[in-house]
Amino acid sequence: MPSKKTLLTPKQPLHELTKTLTGITGLDEITMGGLPTGRPTLICGSAGCGKTLMSLEFIVRGALEFNEPGVFIAFEEKADELATNVASLGFDLNELQQKNKIKIDYIHVDRSEIEETGEYDLEGLFIRLNYAIDSIGAKRVVLDTIENLFSGLTNLAILRAELRRLFQWLKNKGVTAIITGERGEKTLTRQGLEEYVSDCVILLDHRIIDQISTRRLRVVKYRGTTHGTNEYPFLIDEEGISVLPVTSLKLDKPVSSDRFSSGIPALDKMLSKGGFFRGSSILVSGTAGTGKTSIAASFCNEACARGEKSLFFAFEESPTQIIRNMRSIGIDLQNHVDTGLLQFYASRPTLYGLEMHLVAMHKAIKKFKPKVVILDPITNLITVGSVSEVKSMLVRLIDFLQDEQITVMFTALSLNTVVNEQTDEGVSSLVDAWLLIRDIEMNGERNRGLYIMKSRGMKHSNQVREFLISDEGLNLIDVYIGPDGILTGSAREAQMLLEETGHVLHSHAIGVKDSELLRRRKILESKIDSLKSEFESTEAELNKSYIEEAIKKDVMEQNREKLTTLRGKELGTIKSKNKKSKK
């Protein structure tokens, strides 16, 4: 907000309208710097829409934050009543009055006491106002609600003229003033006057649609400057008013290439870069009981484990319920709650309208400054708004979160079992990553299949993984792809068993073949042996005859030699005898 102030200062030489910061969260953004300095602003609206509170906060914040004393002229409530009413917001009016930071003056006009006896004017009011302003050097003035004068006094002509004079007087006095007014039937105020003489008109509205009330604010006119023209929801809570300037939809957000883990290692592996981008938005959708909250809890657990603050918006379960349930899958969120890293923000969707949810979330996020935000589930918000309203709300939320570099994970319930291309909230086109969990029903059981529908800016697996929730946490397993399609759960187990059996049989068959081969070999080898011995015996026989032959020859040679020697003694006779015997 101080930046706004510095932005304004260089404009002053151009005699442009100077503005006074209200200090009310969001209002200064819508009015682009606050209310017109030194001019009257009208805040109008029906009963109970927060006029008095808004104007009083203007005074109190001025005194506390901008050191601008203020005068509050109350026509409706007495000073001590006002003090009691705003004590719950932490504003100590009595103390501020003692310090001369603010001055509250109660003007009471009671018709029953008054008799009008002729012409008059409201100079008394001017004098009191003047005195109050001068006594504390006030820069801000509130008149709440000036119309009460009309209930006490009857001469409309005088009152209207005096009111006009009052606006002019306030301008001359140079105070930044707020005048509150009840809303009229067709005009913004009952008298139809204030809106014309004010330089800035803010309309407050308290609408009830489907039994859910939403307060809205609109800057109807602002002379001499641009301003947000939409209706903006605002919230009144224990810290005063916060207005949400919602549609700053410029697509110029800073982006980060940092990645971080989803808390499920197997899921990180499916994403090429090992996780999601920081500041991205992730949608987890699936039918009932598919483990969306578990994924969200795991995501948030991982963020806390890294030492990053996480904010868990629960629209369905209470924080204690979530903590208990997540303990069953081995995620201890209580631990993170104790260390202050994790904060739950649980509210029933029907507690207030969508816009109010947005304001409340906005506020909680601004306050806690988390790195990771979980919305579980966004589907429940449908109960308080139409699809298009939810979508526009989420657009603005994502927009805001991206601005703050906060990673957000939504879970969404697909109401029909046929998961189509769009989620019910139609946010799929807005998110950066979309995980889809679907039921795979087969063989009388239901299993979960997870796949990544999209993940901007990174390669990702196109495989369907089986999503398992166990005591140890979450895991993803490759599914079996058989001839009958993908197999999960016990079918997958059965298929695995089947393949194992096949393996055993196969190795057995190989064993049998091996021994057969061995046996054959042995047979052949024995055959070879017998042939060998046959050959040896034949050879031996042949050798035998051959030796016999040689022996015979030797013996005959020896015989002949003997005969020759014998014949040598008998000469020729023996020779011829030898020849004959040879024949």
């Binding site: 002729g118 008059y120 004098i127």
Partner: protein
Amino acid sequence: MSNKRDAINWDTTEDEIYELRLFVTGTSPTSVRAINNLHVILEQHLKGRYELEIIDVYQQPLLATSEDISAIPVLVKKAPSPVRRLVGDMSDTNKVLRGLGLL
């Protein structure tokens, strides 16, 4: 012209004393008219039974706050009760008398 005390206290036996305060703003036309008109009425109907204090709120703005004054001129009847406020230049004599409880 701070406190213009016009307390004329002649006869107190007949009735209660009227305690009146008239708040005016300087010498503005309505204020002057109111003072004149009131004097005439009081002299006619309440001669000697009233205490009138004319206060210029320009001079005493604090009194305007403590007396809760907004419309001016205004005549505040402090006593006898009930407290009444008569706003205007007192030109409507009937209304003034009704306001003072004299009609």
